[in-house]
Amino acid sequence: MTPALNLRTIIIVALVAALLLLPVYSELVGNRFVLTLFTRIVILALAAVSLNLILGYGGMMSFGHAAYLGIGGYAVGMLAHEGILSGFVQWPVALAASALFALVIGALSLRTRGVYFIMITLAFAQMAYYVCAGLARYGGDDGLTIYKRSEFVAPVNLSNKVQFYYVCLALLLAAIYLVWRIVNSRFGMAIQGARSNDTRMRAIGFPTYRYKLVCFVIAGTLCGLAGALLANHTDFVSPATMYWTRSGDLIIMVVLGGMASPFGPLIGAVALLLLEEVLSGITEYWQIILGPLLLLVVLFARGGIDGLLKQLTAKVRS
């Protein structure tokens, strides 16, 4: 499926190119902050990509996705605290822990639908928050400082900010590609069918529960990776990462960018975080604007930015 040469594709390619060249720009201009900001954007975009898989394509309204950011982060943090600094141990543990949490929560939550599902995923994620906040040994409420980033084999050195940025970006682009392949496969069709009409799927013979559960686990695991990256980026992990309103932020990114579109979550992450930066420069009460803005997007621009791009492209063509 070769992408057509149109307005939307051009914009997306330009975005990716800009991200690839960002460290160069940062060096030339001498602005380190830009690199830090965009590393964060890329990592959160990865989390949003994972959420898009279950939310956008799967129609599973999970309000507890930020829990995996915390679980992945705490895996890295706790192991580092105990003296295990190797990324080859930390990151697989982060992935495995996220997968296990997703498996248990998913198995319980996916027996419900609609509002119940939202409330339950929210509640379980909040439970994870409280558990981590109660772990006095690992900083509890105050969080845990990570003194050294995950160690891999030379020449990989994650303490080098530029290297770290490219590692994150590479993982993001790989994840976007992976999700794209998944949603177009048989598995992806099953998931999309379940989103579109779950009853019909079961009537024609799909045991939708097991497919949704696997999808849920994949998404959780991918987000756990983002959590491990985030912990490395901030050299710190705290329960606040998992507080349920953070899940809301991730959902905003996915919806704002455009659900069920491969680059939507990236667009959303860039848009939201840049918007935050710009607005907070104008007023410290910027969330007063963001709140109603979100409501307006929901009411009038449900397809998100990618949706608007598609509409624009269609108009330009005609």
């Binding site: 392949r181 069709m189 579109s196 009409n197 019909r200 799927m201 009537a203 013979g205």
Partner: protein, 253 residues
């Protein structure tokens, strides 16, 4: 005389104070087109829901192709060869017409834990899907989103999806619902052609269609079977006429 393909025995279902199925028994022989008729509220859709597995009966049993399917989940029944169409259009509206049918094919093509290969390019899925669309006359609309189709075409798509899994028994819940005279005639023709290939249980209000197609008819009133037999016998049956056929003359449009 071989075992009937579908055997329903003493089915009972209530919703609070409402009795939807009351000691309901019927038999469908392999190869026949068996129509179920009755006034509104007779429990016809509830019957189909219990046969397809959407609802579990309070009492009674259902045997299909020699298996007791009374409490089997929907997808298992589908795998056994039981397919149903829906009275209220229940499609994947945001997917393309071809995708809709391809999903029905995919359901019967092994498991779907395949994560890499593009499903829209798999001949094992796409070819049977196109064939089913051709059977119902929708080939030209294959690549449109299902939401773009007219109501009549939706009913045709419903049928294509039910056929895609090569079922042995087709449960059709009011396939003529909302169709104009031309579309109805086309649907009757299609069903007539299908009759030769598989067994059909047809729930319908359209009496013309019922009497044109049915080999046998069961009449349901308030969840009870009041008569079963050949069309001519049913037409002549006094109880049926009192309970229903008089009403139907006025009702159908």
């Amino acid at each position: 005389m071989s075992e009937p393909l579908l055997q329903v025995g003493n089915l009972a279902k209530r919703f609070g104070g409402i009795i939807a199925s009351d000691d309901l028994s019927l038999i469908v022989a392999a190869g026949e087109l068996h129509a179920v008729i009755g006034p509104n509220g007779a429990g016809k859709t509830t019957l189909i829901a219990q046969l397809s597995g959407q609802l579990t009966p309070d009492a009674g049993h259902i045997r299909f192709a020699g298996n007791d399917i009374t409490s089997l989940p929907m997808h298992v029944r589908s795998a056994l060869g039981l397919a149903r169409s829906f009275q209220i259009t229940s499609l994947f509206l945001d997917l393309s017409v071809l995708d809709n049918v391809a999903l029905a094919v995919q359901a019967h093509a092994g498991h779907s834990f395949r994560f890499w290969r593009d499903a829209r390019r798999e001949p094992e899925l796409r070819d049977p899907a196109r064939a089913a669309l051709a059977r119902v006359g929708l080939s030209a609309r294959a690549d449109l989103p299902a939401s773009a189709l007219s109501h009549g075409e939706h009913r045709q798509l419903e049928l294509a999806m039910a056929l895609a899994g090569n079922p042995r028994l087709l449960l059709l819940d009011e396939p003529m619902a909302g169709l104009g005279p031309e579309e109805s005639a086309r649907m009757v023709e299609m069903l007539h052609a299908l009759k030769r290939e598989l067994t059909i249980l047809l729930v319908e209000h359209d009496m013309e269609a019922v009497f044109a197609l049915a080999d046998r008819i069961t009449v349901l009133v308030y969840g009870r079977v009041i008569a079963t037999g050949a069309p001519a016998d049913i037409r002549a049956n006094a109880d049926v006429r009192d309970a229903y056929l008089g009403e139907a003359e006025v009702a159908h449009g």
